[in-house]
Amino acid sequence: MDFSWMAWTLPTALFFLTILALLIGMGVWEYVSPGGNPRVGILRFETTRGDRLFVSLLGSAFIHLAWLGLGGPDLWWALALSVVYAVGVFKLV
């Protein structure tokens, strides 16, 4: 079966492997301490750590897009900003 049409590249492969690793990591974390540490954060509804990861990832995607649209093609700064944002989400939301 020919899968060359999927056009894999090293960066995109690394990207999906990172996502996969994050999901597995969250699974293991959840297995070790079940329940997902639910709490009501600044968004005024209950979130678990899985929700916080989702908010972090989705937010990061929009941070990258905004950086591309408003700033320039240098995405390392957007990545740094996303990490700060993700830490904030895990602390506060």
């Binding site: 079966m1 020919d2 899968f3 049409w5 999927m6 969250m26 699974g27 959840e30 297995y31 678990t48 899985g50 929700d51 989702f54």
Partner: protein
Amino acid sequence: MKTHATAISTAQTDAAQTLRTGTTQAAERRPGTLPLPARRTKAGVAWLVPTLYIVFLMLPIYWLVNMSFKTNTEIMSGVSLFPQTPTLRNYMVIFSDPSWYKGYINSIIYVVLNTIIAVSVALPAAYAFSRYRFLGDKHLFFWLLTNRMAPPAVFALPFFQLYSAFGLIDTHIAVALAHCLFNVPLAVWILEGFMSGVPKEIDETAYIDGYSFPRFFVKIYIPLIASGIGVAAFFCFMFSWVELLIARTLTTTDAKPIAAIMTRTVSASGMDWGVLAAAGVLTIIPGALVIYFVRNYIAKGFALGRV
């Protein structure tokens, strides 16, 4: 005769007035009169709204049916509410040409395949979601739902290559599998709603009575949620039947759905309005038949079994 007509027109004016001033009138109503469900005195009013709405819904369909019985010369020569020279030619064209009627057979084959696949894989999954908590269950459920919400146009782009790689292009199973993208999440959602309404004690009693899980599921549980299965099947049928973008992307000739044949043939033969209308009428019939069978559950189904 005359008085009768006057009575009707008065009733209609009355109804229109209530529509306009509905809230003020109701607010002035004396205490002790029931405001809502049993307003027997104003029965005519309550009927007016659904009737007008159904007339609005049926008018375009009537126009389609009307056109399907007209000749093309009559269609082009002006607008008339009834066919002046009724003809079955348009329907004969469809029923005598395999490239037309095979489209219906193709559509029905992949729709039925899709319904069977979607409901049978959704059943155990919905049971798991309704009875158990497990690792990542809520996120899994949300992920399934996002596939129902995602625009097919986003996925249609690589679908052709994906199904080519598996040698499935222009087969019924390809369309059936592709439609699972939105139908499986929907079926899980609906069935989970219906299953949550079945008390858990039933499962526990069955286990105590010595039923194995598969036997319990088939013998006891499935009959209990039969209406839910019917509704889920109806919705899978519906969304697979009406979808065109993906079905058209994945088929070329042998599995081409009727809806796609309609668009192609029309542009080629220079607008045969009569045949187009007849083909349209024929695509409405299966839907109408299916609705009739689930009419008592349809409202609950649209609420995804959650009312």
